[in-house]
């Protein structure tokens, strides 16, 4: 394809704080090799296929170790979003009420729209009054909110079944029935989900003829590359957590002391330190994101003017936070203090200019 060699995919010298991080170099190196060799189907019996099956098994061990799972609980998904339907609908019975938080992902709302459900309103810290439920009821537990870094409410007191939108940085709760991870959350490849099914309470909502949990159409190289990325991500995070926390604190402190009228999501004491969401009063996010982009900084935004459907982020609205002028940043170990200082200086100039 002609455009691959051109400038379309060339990023240039942009400092990115976007949630989409480049694939970990170790995983990228493996992927190149795996695809170049036309990696074989692990279910066949050729020598090369058996080799793939062995490596895939090793990858499963990595997932078991880091995600707190048993080998037989792991299912790979080629379409991570499908995991919301599989994971939740598989727990719901005719008498169930499905409880979920107002800050859950739109996929959760989509599943909820087809069953008897109840949205749990949150306060500005993301907390809700946890229902007790009955044994047939179902609740979602979002380990961490992907927009704000705010952790979810523990489902440990819930009488019914628990679906976890899981994070590799937070342990599974004591009681869970199904759990879903997206490999992108650990800088793994897109197009890879891990759906874990605990022992009881789940019935496959898809009309399968056999005992498979997922359709099985995942890419073995991606599943293996995802494990390599996960190992590195956890190691990097543990090694650099205090640095990332300090960078986050530096930005929060700057926003409070140097810019007026800023609404910051969550509290660094409780939130995960690599995510930061703040909204600037009287600032058009589209304009700010464009101007930052021209200055060499890529950030995300939850403001309406930046979304496909022109709706503000339902997460910000549910938390009661300002939805316009929103900036979302993902901090990584390779961001330096100097980069952050330069970014903040550019941000202050642009905000002052836009508000004038």
């Amino acid at each position: 394809m002609r455009f691959l060699g051109g400038s379309v995919l060339s990023v240039g010298s942009v400092t990115t704080f976007q949630s989409e991080a480049p694939l970990h170099p170790a995983a990228a190196e493996f992927l190149g090799d795996a695809f170049a060799r036309g990696w074989a189907d692990p279910s066949k019996i050729h020598q090369e296929s058996r080799k793939v099956a062995l490596v895939l098994n090793e990858a499963k061990e990595v997932y078991c170790q880091h995600l707190g799972l048993r080998h037989d609980q792991i299912n790979f998904l080629g379409e991570p979003s499908l995991g919301f339907h599989l994971g939740i609908s598989g727990l719901i019975e005719a008498e169930s009420t499905f409880y979920h938080s107002a800050v859950d992902r739109s996929e959760v709302f989509a599943v909820a729209s087809g069953v008897r459900s109840k949205v749990l309103p949150v306060d500005i810290t993301g907390q809700y009054v946890a229902p007790t439920g009955t044994v047939v009821d179902v609740i979602t537990y979002q380990a961490v909110n992907g927009e704000t870094g705010i952790p979810g409410v523990s489902p440990n007191g819930f009488a019914g079944k628990v679906f976890v939108e899981a994070s590799p940085l937070i342990s599974l709760p004591k009681k869970w029935n199904s759990a879903l991870w997206d490999a992108r959350s650990w800088n793994g490849p897109a197009g890879l989900g891990i759906l874990a099914i605990a022992d009881k309470g789940w019935v496959n909502p898809l009309p399968h003829n056999d005992s498979r949990v997922t359709p099985g159409s995942f890419s073995a190289p991606l599943a293996i590359a995802g494990a390599i990325a996960l190992e590195n991500y956890i190691r990097d995070f543990n090694e650099h957590e205090s640095k990332i926390r300090a960078l986050n604190a530096k930005i929060r402190n700057f926003l409070i002391t140097q810019l007026e009228d800023v609404d910051i999501a969550g509290d660094l004491e409780t939130a995960l330190p690599h995510l930061l969401s703040f909204s600037l009063l009287y600032v058009d996010a589209q304009l700010l994101v464009d101007e930052l982009d021209k200055s060499g900084y890529a950030v995300d935004s939850g403001s309406a003017c930046n979304s496909m459907n022109m709706q503000p982020s339902h997460v910000l609205a549910a938390l009661g936070l300002l939805t316009h002028g929103n900036v979302r940043m993902s901090l990584r170990a390779d961001h330096t203090e100097m980069e952050i200082e330069k970014f903040l200086s550019v941000l202050k100039d642009l905000v002052t200019k836009i508000r004038r």
Binding site: D261, D263, S279, L281, Y282, V283, D284, S303, A304, C305, M310, Q311, P312, L316, A317, G320, L321, L322, T323, H324, G325
Partner: protein, 65 residues
């Protein structure tokens, strides 16, 4: 005073409202932007001003102390 911001997208209604409040103490804001209700709540919390929602597109805003 009535401030008609229908057809305008966020953050323009809130910017116009804040501007108008410099000279007025009470404003009826008309806005059909879906971000107006959540943003008015956040804005009132951040600035100490007050508002009540009259209907889907109508909000009565009062300057805080």
């Amino acid at each position: 005073m009535e401030l008609d911001c229908r057809g305008m997208r966020c953050p323009i209604p809130i910017i116009k409202l804040a501007h108008a409040l410099k000279t007025e103490s009470s404003i009826r804001l008309l806005s059909d932007d879906p971000a107006t209700l959540p943003d008015l709540s956040a804005w009132a919390r951040m600035t100490g001003n007050k508002f009540t929602q009259v209907n889907n597109e109508t909000f009565d805003v009062k300057k805080g102390n």
